[in-house]
Amino acid sequence: MSDSSAGRAASPAPAGGASAPPNAPEKVVKLRHPWRIVVAVLLLAAVAVFVIDAAQREAFDWGSVGKYVFDKRVTQAAGFTLLLTVLSMIIGVVLGIILAVMRQSPNPVLKSVAWVYLWIFRGTPVYVQLVFWGLLATIYSSIDLGVPFMEPWVSFPTKVLFNAFWLTVIGLGLNESAYMAEIVRAGLLSVDPGQHEAATALGMGWGKTMRRVVLPQAMRVIIPPTGNEVISMLKTTSLATAVPFTLELYTRTRDISVEIFNPIPLLIVASIWYLAITSVLMVGQFFLEKRFARGVGARPDAGPGPVTASMSAVEFDESDAGIAAKHGGDAR
């Protein structure tokens, strides 16, 4: 294929060269990709066959899908799933940052505590952890205040304190924080050590250096894998049934499917909602990434700050841009 088109491009050159006006841009025969079109057409045809077939297939029961997709129980369950995701990710991110900073700390006590925490929470399956959280009220039937191993001063029964929703949030959040800690640590390590030195030389303490200088720069590296974690968490909430918390999307749709003796349409309903929520979260990630890309590189799409945009357009010459790009690259 490509041989024949190359031959066509080359053959008119000696003859046509004389007749073409000398300064006109030469017409170049674009390289064709006929196989792409063939593959695309075949794929489209396959998809069409699948869709037409699926639409007629009784097992999918599209009537029930339509009936239950906006069912109040289902929308409420989608809300709970989103809430579980958001709350446990907030715990995961905040605790993850604290753990990562602890691991980088010069204080050996903080370092060891963070290490042990990670060892336990990364080393056991989240499903097992959730079952444990669900059994918390059984294991510790009361919270006692007082001297250990003596008659307590005050004692609360735990059954009233713990409810399945919050136990799920805590269980998912604590497990997530162990993974987030490693993501944050990767971000911290990606920041040039010179940044730490410069802040130190200015008289900034370790904590302030982390908060003001290192963490904001680490965010750029932290956000993409965190987006991954959020989406992963959205789906991990389906394990909440281990606690047992039964109002989230997967368990709720499964319960409905038991009522109507048909699991397939409600699997589709659940998938539609998971996909919809994921899409919304991806949009959020896009805007977060833009926010933390401030001052990075001299890429034309990033541009300087809004204040300087007009100035730089006039004054910024190419050699400056080259130097800035080079140094920006080195700094990273």
């Binding site: 030195e197 700050g305 730089s312």
Partner: protein
């Protein structure tokens, strides 16, 4: 700039005009078994500009970093303005200071790095304002006024709102100098400030440093710019293999080096 920050009570020597700004006595420094500084003794007087030159690996940058305790000395005594850096001497023994106290000492010592190390997520103005607001607790308005003044002084008033990535190397280094000056240091350390610059940008940074020297700032400069050393420095120190080989008036040393190693080095760089 010229006003000395008053020394805390109890430290009698600090701020005393007769005390040298930097005094190093028998300073040694090892990284593992590798001894990079061997028994260095030297003084930097108030208002003096001292240039440290020597081949790479001679220990000059390490010595500079010891002055503000970015590196800890292994033995010997190193004092800035009469105060030991990073240690307290009680009964002939050295006691480590709390990191907060060391941070306090560093406030008075400005440092400029070879790779600028500007904070890339902050504009030039924010870079200069950061330490005064965060460390000294200066109000935003005051810090901003002072930062703009300093940026004007290094010739970058109209670049205040640029991020470092949109400034040339020379401009970034000038911002870095302004950032260090914003803490009103009594001593400025320069670690090869022009080594990472394209040749045509070296001049603008050296000009700013010359102006600074004229104001009477005490400066310790690690550099390969012999022209700058000849023109601006009061003292030239040649280091090699972790020891001070030769010290003296830069014009004299550059014109007529006394040691074989100095001669060999200068014949390569001049």
């Amino acid at each position: 700039m010229s006003e000395q920050t008053t020394a805390p009570a109890g430290v009698t020597a600090a701020g005393d005009a007769s005390v040298p700004m930097v005094r190093a006595e028998h300073v040694s420094k090892s990284f593992g078994s590798n001894e990079v500084l061997k028994d260095i003794s030297l003084e930097v007087k108030r208002g003096e500009v001292l240039c440290l030159v020597g081949p790479s690996g001679s220990g000059k940058s390490t010595f500079l970093r010891c002055i503000n305790h970015l590196e800890q000395v292994s033995s010997g005594r190193l004092a800035v303005d009469g105060q030991l850096v990073g240690y307290r001497e009680v009964g002939g023994r050295l006691h480590e200071m709390h990191p907060k106290e060391i941070s306090k000492q560093r406030r008075d010592i400005g440092m400029v790095f070879q790779r600028f190390n500007l904070f890339p997520h902050m504009t030039a103005l924010e870079n200069v304002m950061e330490a005064p607001t965060q460390v000294k607790g200066l109000s935003k308005a005051k810090a901003k006024a002072r930062a703009l003044e300093l940026l004007a002084r290094v010739g970058l008033a109209e670049r205040a709102d640029y991020y470092p990535a949109h400034l040339s190397g020379g401009q970034q280094q000038r911002v870095a100098i302004a950032r260090a000056l914003a803490m009103d240091p009594k001593l400025m350390l320069f670690d090869e400030p022009t080594s990472a610059l394209d040749p045509e940008l070296v001049g603008e940074v050296l000009d700013v440093m010359k102006e600074l020297a004229k104001t009477g700032m005490t400066m310790v400069v690690v550099t390969h710019e012999m022209g700058f050393a000849r023109e601006v420095a009061d003292t030239l120190v040649f280091m090699d293999g972790g020891v001070v080989v030769e010290t003296g008036d830069p014009r004299a040393v550059l014109a007529d080096p006394q040691h074989q190693r100095t001669k060999a080095f200068l014949s390569k760089v001049l």
